[in-house]
Symmetry: C2
Subunit: 207 residues, 2 copies
């Protein structure tokens, strides 16, 4: 059967290693495409248009909102960030699974618009490891680390909204695990309505 792509929303604590995991996943398997966000913030040195982000003006962004061209969007530090709908839908139609990284509020909005979206929550093996990773970056002050941990504690309250959790311990294993989860997700009744309808109709004509 020709199968449609699934929209995969990945969330998780800051420091859980989502970014690396997703890059490795897309690199390892051909089945997946990373969604690219649209933003009104200025490109940082080294960032390329259409790679890290689509960089647009405030006017363009608001026009896209009005045209329902975004799956979800949020504003953060006076800048807009959003997920362009067209790219995602094109990939899904082609049968590719599209991965987007987003925090819990956005994840739930996506799930409303795309009931077949798969929600995956990435977390470190334990909280102490999360703290170590945040400290290990060496770029954050103790206050910032403390804030991140508090934020993680809040986010942890929403884990039950997700379909799967992934423990990010060893990267390779975790990539493999993620692949297994996504493959399994293709086999739920919700994501195979046509197939089920077909066999129902066929059974009725046979008996």
């Amino acid at each position: 059967m020709k199968r449609k792509g699934i929209l995969i929303v990945v969330s998780g604590f800051s420091g859980a290693g989502k970014g690396t995991l997703m890059k490795q996943l897309v690199h390892t398997y051909e089945d997946y495409a990373l969604s690219i966000s649209m933003t009104t913030r200025e490109p940082r040195p080294g960032e390329t248009e259409g790679k890290e982000y689509f960089f647009v003006s405030r006017e363009e962004f608001e026009k896209t909102i009005r045209e329902d061209g975004l799956i979800e969007y949020a504003s953060y530090c006076d800048n807009y960030y959003g997920t362009p709908r067209a790219y995602v839908e094109r990939q899904l139609e082609k049968g590719r699974d599209v991965i987007l990284e987003i925090e819990i509020q956005g994840a739930l909005k996506v799930k409303e618009k795309f009931p077949t979206a798969l929600l995956v929550f990435v977390m470190p093996p334990d909280a102490a490891e999360l703290k170590r990773r945040l400290e290990g970056r060496g770029t954050e002050s103790p206050e910032v680390i403390s804030k991140r941990l508090a934020r993680a504690s809040e986010e942890a309250e929403g884990i039950e909204k997700y379909d799967f959790i992934v423990i990010n311990d060893r990267l390779e294993e975790c990539v493999e695990r993620m692949h297994v989860l996504i493959q399994a997700a293709h086999d739920t009744p919700l994501r195979n309505k046509e197939l089920i309808d077909d066999i129902r109709k066929e059974l009725k004509t046979l008996c």
Copy 2:
């Protein structure tokens, strides 16, 4: 992390090849144990106590019911059939996933008692193939085949109650697929309550 076993309930149309699939799955992977049913019917030639079934008297069966020793039971053609609780719970504690084959009513009863049970529906690639398989057995009259197809049509109405569907086309692929689904099922929040609680508590103490 030491993980608990999952109870896996497999249903599907008569002729979908559930039996062969499950035997092959248990044969291929060490993770799984097949549940053995208890019945009051007489052993058929070649059937061994404790292998195909546990054969017991009507009195013993009813005693087991009264002692809540069965996960589910039903009566069919004047005989009782049921799933003994002790064996299943022992295997789950050991971390093995236990597979039991049961029709939809029983499957839903199991899900009530074991909310973490995984429900899998096995089906042929299409209804015509199902008919071919039923005819291919060469043992059934057209009337019986017609009844089986009518029964399949009824059962098909309940597919949405299942967590996953598995298309039984090529056996090896299907066994592999089944394994993927069960592995994925281990990673839902519902089946990792302890782990999630632990990280929540830990995060609270850290921030």
